[in-house]
Subunit: 222 residues, 2 copies
DNA sequence: CTCAAAGATAACGTATTTATTATTGCATTT
DNA sequence: AAATGCAATAATAAATACGTTATCTTTGAG
């Protein structure tokens, strides 16, 4: 067979992640290992391995004799997550500007920006969110620090979870795009300080908006 | 019974960590799951769970049919780790200065500094390293971001691994102490910017020294 | 003598079974 | 009636057994 059959453990991780992000496994709910095994139609062992991995990624909590708990995200959690992203992505932006990248290297970043602008024009929030994710992932990749990539990836997962409920509450993120262009230009120009400071401000602003939104809507979690 | 008997999985994590830090399980070496199970006198299952956890923490790598590989740390890895610590700890310092802590809150930090100074006076490098760890851990704790605490903890683990071979190559870290005092004072004064910038410089300096040291001694890994 | 193929061995991934532990409910005693 | 203790049940933790896959070695043929 040409397709590489991936192991049950791998599949369990993917499936559980997908179900957590989709809300099928809602934040704050408890589930037995055996229940999840039935759901995924495999035995408990690979499920348990997946659960262990996901626990390490902060998506759920393993409570002996109680089952696994899908971790809810409080506004405080979101504030913490945004602070981590702010610091690490700013660093990545600085580094991306320092090491000189040619146009080809920056192509993916440019495309993400274009896609965001197009999404704004057609008020397609889902498409915007997807392109925004790509922008941030690509920025971090250009930063060249694999550990920052890993950590930022986890934190972004959490942001993505929360976005389901917040994306449609907020105004169109038109200002975001100007920030992105500025950061892009700074990277291309090798202006590390601008890249860093501007992206930093961008993230802090995003955090402020989100926290405001959550408290205004009295969203205690998720 | 008053003592909490901890599970085999927990014990496996502790024991493996200790053996990795002590060098008994040396960086770059391969080990079979069954071999580790024999070593810890338990079955493969808890060992495997521990290995999965430690893989998530970046201490080792799981290679199918090859066994677990204790990850070596290259100079590039150390540079990455220091960069993460620089960003996250600086943020913690800034936050620690912002939220006002009374003297009692800062007592542990002060004690760590005193211990470092005493260790310098008696040229006890091990004691200095231990107190330095405490200083950084306490700083991050005062920052109040639990995710930063977790990440910084993991990164510090890695630094600790490398320090075994680097601590005795370097000059006495007398300059470090001045930095620590400055950061401490800034936190007490609520001077967030100084706390942040100073700690940032402190970490960047430490990184530069370490990387220089590693390349000078042609340490490709450890 | 070299290369390829096949078989054997060893290690991991998965499953099943067994044991331990915690919680809940019921009964008994105060 | 309330509290405590015991028993039963349910869920996780651990061990062992099984199957699959990859690698290495050996043998045979070119």
């Amino acid at each position: 067979m040409s397709v590489k059959a991936l192991s049950n453990s791998q599949r369990a991780i993917q499936e559980l992640r997908a179900r957590i992000f989709s809300g099928e496994l809602a934040a704050g709910t408890d589930h037995l290992e055996s229940e999840l095994a039935d759901l995924l139609e495999m035995s408990r062992t690979p499920v348990r391995e997946a659960v262990l991995k996901l626990e390490g990624q902060g998506l759920l909590e393993l409570r002996p004799r109680k089952g696994v708990r899908i971790l809810p995200l409080s506004p405080d959690d979101m504030a913490e997550i945004y602070d981590v992203l702010t610091e690490l992505e700013s660093h990545a932006a600085e580094r991306a500007a320092t090491s000189d990248h040619d146009k080809e290297d920056l192509a993916a970043l440019a495309r993400a920006i274009e896609d965001m602008e197009a999404a704004i024009d057609s008020t397609d929030l889902d498409a915007w969110a997807e392109a925004d994710d790509r922008f941030h992932a690509e920025l971090v990749r250009l930063g060249g620090n694999s550990r920052i990539q890993g950590i930022a990836g986890m934190m972004s997962d959490q942001v993505r979870r929360a976005r389901t409920s917040t994306l449609f509450m907020r105004p169109l993120p038109t200002k975001s795009n100007k920030d992105h262009r500025t950061v892009y230009q700074a990277i291309q120009d090798g202006d590390a300080e601008t890249a860093r400071d501007c992206h930093r401000q961008h993230r802090q602003h995003a955090k402020a908006i989100l926290v405001e939104l959550l408290s205004k809507h009295r969203l205690r979690h998720l």
